[in-house]
């Protein structure tokens, strides 16, 4: 009951739920950068929504199944084949012993999720099985997969009913995004017109983009700070602006404290999209008051609850 890695892809890691309640020790959230897509894949196999699965980044891996296994693919747009035949996303697929799964380059979005019936075996560390590469723990030996790795399944399970994600629950991916943000602790350090510029600009996701965070390319933001701000807590989705005026947005593996002014905070309702923002994508930020953003979160939960009971644990 194992899966062999014939080619690892650009950065393929085992991800599950986030690490919660450890940030005061400097332990970041980690977990799937797009937890909604992870949950959709696990849902098709009857797994826990946050069971350990593979997170594929931009260029997919090639895997060989050493036993029959039910799998499901979700996330960004990519071509995939099983035994040489094209396979669909958002559907339970039965892989036979010896079948090879090949996932090509991700064309729209950044990350694809591959879930396995019963879930992957993974090293649990500090409350989660998710890989945190910077410290080398969790997942498979705390790192991205390499050629020759052999992943174990928690149990053999091919009796899964074939399920398909209903059309209305298939996320549409594009290269332009509208993300809701709230003010953060140092938003006041931006001059008024700059706060407007933050939400009136077509930001472009920069080339420096990974699970730690991403650069936002656009106009220079001038913050009245001298680089001496005392370090303060930051979270996935915190937008900081260093002295060079070029803001960046933190993602799931980002550190827990930072010393650059926090000029905005991505609202919880849209934080699951961090994992799909891709260099070159266009982003508009929509200003929301905290209560408006929370109302939007409740509305999103209400939408998803029928297909994904327990959605509140996911996003």
């Amino acid at each position: 009951m194992s899966v062999e890695v014939l080619a690892p892809g650009l950065q393929t890691t085992i991800q599950a739920g986030a690490r919660v309640g450890m940030r005061h020790l400097g332990v970041p959230a980690s977990g799937a950068a797009d937890p909604l897509s992870l949950a959709l894949a696990n849902r098709l196999l009857g797994n826990d929504l946050l069971a350990p699965a593979l997170e594929v980044t931009l260029v997919g891996p090639t895997l060989r199944f050493n036993a029959p296994t039910a799998i499901a693919l979700t996330g960004g747009v990519a071509q995939a084949t099983l035994g040489g035949e094209p396979i669909e996303f958002h559907s339970t697929i039965i892989a036979k012993q010896g079948d090879e799964l090949a996932i090509a380059a991700v064309e729209i979005g950044t990350r694809v999720y591959v879930a396995f019936a019963g879930g992957l075996q993974a090293q649990e560390m500090l409350g989660s099985c998710s890989t945190y590469m910077a410290a080398g723990f969790g997942g498979h030996q705390g790192r991205a997969l390499v050629e020759g790795d052999v992943l174990q399944l928690q149990k053999q399970n091919t009796n899964t009913d074939v399920a398909r994600t209903p059309q209305e629950y298939r996320l549409a991916f594009s290269s332009t995004w509208a993300l809701r943000i709230c003010r953060s602790a140092e938003s006041d350090l931006l001059q008024d017109e700059q706060l407007g510029e933050l939400t009136n600009t077509n930001w472009i996701i920069g080339r420096r983009a990974d699970r730690m965070g991403m650069q936002l390319d656009g106009p220079m933001m001038s913050v009245s700070s001298d680089g001496r701000m005392p370090s303060a807590p930051v979270f996935p989705g915190t937008i900081q602006c260093p002295g060079n005026g070029s803001p960046f947005m933190l993602s799931v593996d980002a550190g827990t404290t930072g010393g650059y002014p926090r000029i905005a905070q991505l609202a919880r309702v849209d934080r699951h999209l961090l994992g799909q923002l891709r260099p070159g994508d266009h982003v508009r930020f929509l200003p929301r008051r905290p209560q408006e953003a929370i109302d939007a979160l409740h509305a999103k939960h209400n939408y998803w609850r029928e297909w994904l009971p327990g959605i509140e644990r996911v996003i």
Binding site: F137, S184, A185, G227, R228, A232, A267, P290
Partner: protein
């Protein structure tokens, strides 16, 4: 109970599920964070140098309720803990390839290399905060002349064990990764060991002294 004006100034939303509490001093922030964690009702309670940020679950509690609960905890008061009776000696290889900003810091502060090392190793410090990444340590109490700002452009990667200074503190990078502090040296002291029973050997309240060593002595 409506929040008073002073409470509103102290407790501020920094996101839709994040509230920041301004406390002013690192030891107060640590003490209040510990008190909130003991209450056990929050997703995250993270102390910074001068503030604490609480993340609450907006599906369970409204932002106003969260604010009121925190105000009630503040009203109870909190007691900063005494410093731990532990003095850690941290060996540091200063300058050269291990301290890429060492020369720039000398230039910025007008100190010679010898003076900079003597100043940095010449006193005992307190661990004010752990955080950022597992094992990253914020050491307070740097000499005033060394109070330089962060780099305008953070580095994409600093080496594990890097020793940086910024904003009156020394920062010890347990892991390789992005970082914005000017780097003056490197230590081989184990700051984070995921295999150990206690992966976090350095704790808030411990005292630190830096010892200048050569690369050969440090085994670098």
């Amino acid at each position: 109970m409506p929040c008073s004006d002073s409470t509103a100034r102290t407790i501020k939303a920094c996101g839709d599920d994040l509230l920041s509490i301004r406390l002013g001093a690192a030891r107060d922030a640590q003490a209040f964070a510990e008190q909130l964690r003991a209450a056990g009702e929050w997703q995250e309670v993270v102390a910074g140098i001068e503030s604490v940020v609480v993340q609450f679950d907006a599906t369970l509690i409204t932002i106003d309720e969260a604010r009121q609960q925190i105000a009630a905890e503040l009203a109870k008061g909190y007691t900063p803990k005494a410093l731990a009776d532990v003095l850690l000696e941290i060996p540091v290889v200063y300058g050269g390839e291990f301290g890429p900003d060492f020369d720039a810091v000398c230039e910025q502060t007008g100190l010679s290399a010898e003076e900079l090392i003597a100043l940095h190793t010449g006193r005992e410090y307190d661990v004010e905060l752990v955080g950022f990444t597992p094992g990253f340590v914020y050491v307070g109490g740097l000499a005033a002349v060394l109070r330089i700002p962060r780099r305008k452009q953070p580095r994409q990667r600093v080496a594990a064990g890097s020793v940086g200074i910024a904003d009156g503190r020394t920062g010890l990078y347990a892991l390789a990764g992005p970082g914005g502090w000017p780097i003056i040296g490197r230590t081989t002291f184990t700051l984070f060991d995921p295999q150990a029973k206690d992966p976090f050997p350095v704790r808030v309240g411990m005292r630190i002294r830096f010892i200048a060593v050569s690369a050969a002595e440090a085994g670098l």
